[in-house]
């Protein structure tokens, strides 16, 4: 269950890959929607930690267009519900994530992203 909250925090860390290494691009993915407990304080506290554009773009690629392109200054319940759904309820179970820069492929198996690099790929 790679949720978009996790995807928003993962970057390529291969040797010498330091620019344009985020966000990773999902490929050949299987999605599952699973309900999660709504917590508006948590969401509000988390908003400043998100890379907003990466989140919105990724959500749109996965077919969810509910989030505005700019993070709103005033948050209402409708917005928080959308954010909750995108961040915490969309799960990527299988597939992979590709680095936009070096094209390294990180597979996702049973909902767990494999971010391990081989010895020679570590910076």
């Amino acid at each position: 269950m790679v949720r978009l909250i996790t995807h928003n925090l993962l970057a390529c860390h291969a040797k010498d890959c330091n620019t344009n290494n985020f966000p990773l691009e999902f490929k050949d993915i299987q999605l599952e929607i699973r309900e999660a407990e709504f917590n508006s304080d948590f969401l509000k506290g988390f908003m400043p930690k998100l890379e907003w554009k990466a989140l919105v773009d990724t959500a749109r690629q996965l077919g969810d267009t509910s989030l505005p392109l700019e993070q709103p200054e005033m948050v209402d319940d409708g917005f928080l519900k959308s954010l909750h759904h995108v961040l915490l309820e969309i799960h990527v179970e299988e597939g992979s994530m590709t680095c936009p820069n070096c094209k390294h492929v990180y597979p996702i198996l049973n909902g767990i992203p494999n971010m391990l690099l081989a010895e020679h790929e570590i910076g």
Partner: protein, 216 residues
Amino acid sequence: MLPTPDLSHLTKKDLEEVYEPAEDTFLLLDALEVDYDYLKGSKPSICLEIGSGSGCVTSFLGNIIGSTAYFCTDINPHACRCTQRTGKQNNVNIQVIHGSLASPLELRLASKVDVLLFNPPYVPTSDDEVGHAQSDGKIEGAWAGGSGGMQITNVMLSKVKNLLSPSGRFYLVALKENNVPGIIKLMREMYTLTGEIVLQRHAGREHLFILRFSHL
């Protein structure tokens, strides 16, 4: 006393492949319980455990803090699966990442981690043994710590300052042989982090410590 997380879903086979919670694990749980009021009161928004093994520690933390974001990494794929299941079993929503230390998260989690936990492979071994243990992703990686038992811990220590939020805390398990005063001195002099011993205990042949670090 808070209950230890429910681990009844872990089979004998799981525990052949994944580190079974032991005295070091329980001392870390006890240290988190000592800091219960702080941990609960400070409303952490990001908690990260390195080398979560069975998932026992983060599940315990989850039962102290309640709903927030929990991330765990481990180099052992079986440990990753066990952590995920243990989270479910104890109603803690854990995001598990199969990876080494905090590497894939370092860029985005800079200055954002409120609670950072590491019960590392701390047993002194040969350097060869660490190399194999780290690349095999098997249970040997749970203890093989190289010279002074510090080979993996030292790499992590160099990352802590960058990861911790301004009020963040780092909890580390260490063994007497790891040179506890030396770790505290290094953290202060190299990384301007202040550290202290929260708990210590003799368990069989091991003299175990829990250290806690924060920004000066």
